[in-house]
Symmetry: C2
Subunit: 436 residues, 2 copies
């Protein structure tokens, strides 16, 4: 029998038991979604030369307005020329400012004059430069030589890829992500492509759902298929995971209290079960174990999450416990789900015994002069077999274990489980034009 631990204790136990995976070297384009394993430093300043901000004319700013010979063209990608006072050079955006010049006048502030008899190009400076440095990016003004452009432990997104390219970091050290295996257990399970269900059968949803969730976290996923309710078959699948060198094994089903729940006894024989029962709804049978030194590259143990068989329980516990573990392995400094606050849109009956993670869809609302807030719409019936309660859910509301009904309009904590940049837009969210 397992002691029932709190969800906070379970999360802490998991995060204490695992370590970030080692760094690997990846090419620029493969680094997205990874955490940097090193500081990335600029070798040169950017721009590496004083550069024009505009298309126009490089000038000596003290020369002021008037008509000038266009001495030469200063084009992007060429070495800086030499400009004498009393003349100007045509210059394109990003081109090196000629030596001798100290400012740029944009083309809109000039007038092209007829060429001289010798073919000499001439231009009228109508609105002169305000002074030295006008429309010039000084050497190193964007990035100084030696500057840390991306610190170790930063998450690499598209903009960071741009920065890596800028400073010539064509390969970069990043944390490896966990290799994950998924295994479903249960005599009742058949594959999704089975057209007709036999007596007592249902289709396996968890394996595909958990694999998709792990892939969304950037993990490579190995599919171990379905194990029948037979300890030898389950053990053989564990052996397969170990042989393949995965870091994390996600099982679903077989962790309850029934005669056919083989997962915990096997984990006890092969390693350490850190907890086997969590005070949460859904997800009570959630089990966490480590098989020390059993497998994994660099001699790490295999981390096993025994997720409940009910589909909602399996994906909720994935989000609450497995995902932070995968993020911690990937090097995230703050691997936990992000907590925000939201206003409930309907009354919610609470569970008196276990804190509930109520699936909800958050959207942004703003009325009157308030700062706006997140409105939480319940996804409906929350029984752990009803996967429709996860459809379109982007948050888990953290509801306390209390007897009673939480009225509509209550402020609750919510953990983000999906990208709010795809959240529902139930109304036209107004543009706020600040007044002051």
């Amino acid at each position: 029998m397992y002691r029932m631990v709190s969800i906070a204790e379970a999360q802490k136990t998991v995060l204490n038991a695992i370590e970030p995976l080692p760094s690997i070297s990846l090419g620029l384009s493969d680094a997205v979604g990874h955490i940097l394993g090193e500081d990335v430093i600029a070798r040169e300043p950017l721009p590496p030369f004083p550069a024009s901000i505009k298309d126009g004319y490089a000038v000596v700013s003290a020369d002021g307005p008037g008509d000038y010979d266009v001495a030469f063209e200063a084009l992007a990608g060429t070495a800086a020329g030499q400009l004498k006072a009393g003349s100007v050079a045509y210059i394109t955006t990003g081109a090196p400012l000629p030596d001798g010049a100290d400012a740029v006048v944009q083309v809109e502030n000039t007038e092209k004059l007829p060429a001289g008899p010798d073919g000499q190009q001439r231009v009228r400076i109508v609105k002169p430069a305000k002074g030295p440095g006008d429309d010039v990016r000084a050497l190193g003004s964007d990035i100084a030589a030696g500057e840390v452009v991306l610190a170790k432990d930063s998450l690499v997104g598209a903009a960071e890829i741009g920065l890596l390219a800028t400073v010539g970091a064509a390969t970069v050290q990043v944390r490896r992500k966990a290799r994950v295996a998924v295994l479903s257990t249960g005599d009742e399970l058949v594959e999704p492509d089975q057209e007709t269900l036999g007596p007592g059968q249902i289709r396996d949803a968890n394996r595909f759902m958990l694999a998709a969730a792990a892939r969304s976290a950037g993990c490579d996923v190995t599919d171990l298929g379905i194990a029948r309710d037979d300890p030898a078959e389950v053990e053989a699948k564990f052996g397969e995971a170990i042989a393949q060198g995965v870091d994390v094994l996600l099982t679903s089903g077989g962790v309850s209290v029934g005669d056919r729940d083989f997962i915990k006894p096997i984990l006890e024989r092969q390693g350490t079960v850190h907890f086997g029962k969590v005070c949460m709804k859904p997800g009570k049978p959630l089990t966490f174990a480590t098989l020390d030194g059993a497998a994994g590259s660099s001699g790490r143990g295999l981390v096993v999450f025994g997720l409940p068989g009910n589909p909602v329980s399996s994906i909720v516990t994935f989000n609450l416990v497995v995902l932070p573990a995968l993020r911690a392995m990937a090097g995230w400094a703050e691997p936990r789900l992000r907590r925000v606050h939201a206003r409930t849109q309907s009354a919610i009956k609470l569970d008196p015994e276990r804190p509930e993670y109520h699936r909800a869809s958050l959207s942004w609302h703003r009325t009157g002069e308030s700062a706006g807030e997140l409105a939480a719409a319940s996804t409906g019936g929350q029984i752990s077999s009803r996967l429709l309660s996860m459809r379109s859910a982007n948050a888990l509301l953290e509801l306390p274990a209390v007897q009673g009904v939480l009225p509509a309009g209550s402020l609750v904590s919510a953990l983000l489980i999906d990208d709010l940049s795809a959240m529902p837009v139930p109304e036209d969210i107004p543009l706020v034009v600040p007044s002051w």
Copy 2:
């Protein structure tokens, strides 16, 4: 010369010019991130039989507490047996309720008794079922036969994959995503792996950044490399994009007003330029064109976005205009960036001429009894060459074109450009326990 259009007009023009791409058939595991092209309907009810919610004993609820023979075992994955009143059947979670039984008593509410002299297993029902249906999921109680479990136009995430598997949708119709090509232009550009920069050279960042951003939106990306400032070379690259059948071409650079800005003239010759100047900061030279019938599968035209060469301008215009276009092609009903509201953490100087998209990092704050709000930290100097202003940015603040300084603590509109589930956590966000 191009008329300067507002960003709203630019966005509208783009969304009016493009259509969702056709649907394709994908296997279950490949459908993540796609929009469904069809309603997905459950053929059978779920559960397909009355199923036990617990490990325990199937009973005739009217029998009440007392000692019973365990007539047989009702295991998951087997056909339902036949139970007679006055006896019980051992049952596991998810197993079909035997005919004749009408409730389940969980094992925790029972005591195992010594077997009878004939080896007959016996059990004491200590706490009986409350009535018919107790701890039983009725047939179809999770999903009714014929129910639309996922509607056309839904976005497929991990939970939706689970639903597809559940109802046996092993392949599914989803909208195709755009095939995107990226091309950088400019004599000054060299590849990121070039160790030492020559005179006037900088490394190309935009191509890698835009490719990463397009891939993050789920698009396949073709890299067309760098075109020199030579119309023939640029045109050849356009031809390459057309030959490869891409849907969208993203160029960067060459759209300004200088002599070397070849992109717009080429687009005018080959198709229709819908706008070539947008009233926004950064990103004024943003250009949008369609090359009708030039290429693309199913005879669609090639959509071309001529993005500015400054790296910040290119990624900001990507987010504001290209990403909604890619989402619209992928079938999103609401392809625009999500707008929220945020409180500025510092004073921000405004641009008197163009609305500014100020890069910021949003994080959740809550003090006192408020609902909490998003705090917007500016990413610093906003010059369009300074890509560091995009580092860690997860939002674009929509600042009006006004002379003056917006004080700290102002409420502003913000467009989400990154996943808030990775947002910075500057403080320990409190758990709200609602009281009522």
